[in-house]
Symmetry: C2
Subunit: 374 residues, 2 copies
């Protein structure tokens, strides 16, 4: 049992960094992909938010598990899983790829890393893509191996991340462009470093490929980060919502198609790509999707945590329900609450006035916004 109150067991996997995270006094965990994700260190999510925007943080995001797909049919399997055209991806490039099923329902929204023409990693959100990809491959008798390698991303996020990484791994780090990766040497091992991460403040993810080096890598980043005012952190709810970063299971599930998730720009429904769910997605595209992801800015003072979705009504609380808030937080910068909701088509234009009925019983006046929030 940790200080978090979450009951610990082997089933909820520790990461190569959990020992360090505990030494730093983590105050809560979530569970993603059967693995611990630290959720709170600083006295408040707000302090954490301001720190991340100004300095640099070290995050244990090992729960972003990799699904490795390798072999003669690897590119075919990856393309089969997504409506995004992956044919022109370069080695060293990352693509954000919606994965959909035969009904165009979202299975996951991973980042695809192309390691070689026949070798990919899917860096996944919270669903067992390993079983999905294996099932498809075995069912269709594809020549491909699908497995979860011993890779545990450690994220370095914030405006000072580049200086920290350059100090630690060398100046060539600065040449890695956004959503590309390269390799660095760490204690004689070759490790993949990507420029990206689950914030809008800039940063890198180190895809550590050897659990045994977890504490050593954490310590090296921590030490190099002292002059940059580094703190331990985690994906920040306020910053994530402001940045319009979706979370699988929160903003969308298997019940949702990628167009209503606002992921249309990552889909090629009308191409002749061979992917699962093409007919379903084409039908939705032809008819026009009925709702789409939007930001909602709303008042009434700091809102409570959004554990179950809150109805969004057009106009006042007597107006028709046009959406439901699935994630929300008080923005200390905007001095209003920020939330995300799919909004019905007739009401999805920015500026639409709405009322959010939060779990505390308040009727909170608000407005539909584009994502990300300004």
């Amino acid at each position: 049992m940790s200080t978090s109150g979450l009951n610990m067991s082997r089933r909820i996997r520790r990461t190569p960094y959990t020992d360090r995270v505990e030494q730093h006094g983590v105050r809560g965990f979530s569970v993603v992909n059967h693995m611990l994700l630290p959720k709170a260190f600083a006295p408040s999510v707000e302090e954490d938010y301001w720190h991340m925007r100004a300095h640099v943080q070290i995050w244990d995001v090992s729960c972003q598990r990799q699904v490795e797909i390798q072999g003669p049919d690897a590119a075919r399997l990856v393309q089969w899983m997504t409506p995004r055209d992956i044919s022109k991806a370069r080695i060293g490039q990352c693509l954000y790829v919606p994965l959909i099923d035969d009904k165009a329902g979202m299975v996951n929204d991973p980042v695809l890393l192309k390691l070689a023409p026949d070798h990919f990693w899917l860096s996944i959100a919270d669903s067992d893509v390993l079983l999905w990809a294996k099932g498809l491959a075995l069912g269709a008798r594809l020549k491909v191996s699908v497995r979860e390698p011993d890779v545990s991303p450690l994220s370095v996020q914030g405006p000072k991340a580049e200086d920290l990484m350059a100090k630690l791994f060398g100046e060539h780090i600065r040449g890695i462009r956004f959503f590309n990766f390269d390799y660095v040497d760490f204690q004689g091992t070759r490790q993949l470093v990507q420029r990206g991460g689950y914030s809008k403040q800039g940063g890198f993810e180190i895809y550590l490929n050897d659990s045994a080096l977890g504490s050593a890598l954490w310590d090296a980043v921590w030490e190099a980060g002292q002059e940059f005012n580094i703190t331990p952190g985690c994906p920040n709810l306020i910053e994530r919502i402001e940045g319009g970063l979706l979370s699988y299971g929160n903003e969308f599930t298997l019940e949702n198609n990628p167009l209503e998730c606002g992921l249309g720009k990552f889909c090629s429904p009308d191409s002749d790509l061979e992917y699962l769910g093409r007919e379903a997605l084409q039908a939705i595209a032809a008819q026009g999707h009925a709702r789409e992801m939007r930001g909602v800015l709303f008042d009434g003072g700091p809102c409570p945590p959004c554990g179950k979705p809150w109805p969004v009504h057009a106009g006042d609380a007597q107006g028709p329900q046009i959406g439901r808030i699935t994630s929300a937080a008080w923005s200390p910068r905007l001095q209003r609450n920020v939330g995300m909701s799919m909004i019905e088509k007739a009401y999805w234009n920015p500026g639409q006035t709405v009322t959010v009925c939060s779990a505390d019983g308040l009727h909170r006046p608000g407005m539909v916004c584009a994502l990300p929030f300004a």
Copy 2:
């Protein structure tokens, strides 16, 4: 944010009973199948243990999600997923079925419910069998629908469970045999009731098929249970280990085959059944599996929670490592610690003396035992 310290979000799904569970003052949750599982109510797991052995408890086990497989190829798909022969299962019968992949690795260990010749539910442990089964079916172009219905099991466990259920649903409940199911009327709806559950104290699971009735069902069970000294509870770690009930992700993972899990009696490796992983399982069976699940009884006073596996050595702590404890608890009845570990073949006979090196640094003398514990 609940009292549990687990950060709440829509991604970690509430159940139809979560409102009631919170009203009863739940003190902690775990996460199984992306859903909340209550983990603590009573002042201690020990009090909970004694109460369950003497009276009756109501458990929210909605996280035992159902994967519904229905259609002309349903029986073929289910058989393809398991080395257990399902051909002779009767309608109304439940079977404990190991699910394995092409390498004979354990994907899950659900209870199979046969609703009709072409209609099954898999009541699953903690992995996305929905995606696994859908992937296999789509890859192999099987004529079958695979989905997660709105079914949320509520468990009534303990020696007084039968009297409670008979009072609530009628005397015919007493005629349901272990690992069989029948239907009851609840407020004009037809609901499936199975005799079984995740304890060895006897009981039933009500597979509520309509979330909207969650609070009503909870209240009906609660009210009927007053004369039987009912309390809210949850799977009890001490009772589970004593009873030799395995937990997917704790005692075994995709890395383990069913024979080393001690599930050989549920496998027919040498049959001509058409199931995935048959060659791999036959090869393991021919060679003989190298380790097998056992109980370990050990001393040194109440052990700490087992968050990461503890080495088990033959003889004293200098002896060879022959296993690792994956779940452990102090048994107030046996006045010793009980644990589970796969044990290497040369040492797996009951009576073998061992030393358990627990996380608190103690070297605890112990002994290999058969499961369940006496």
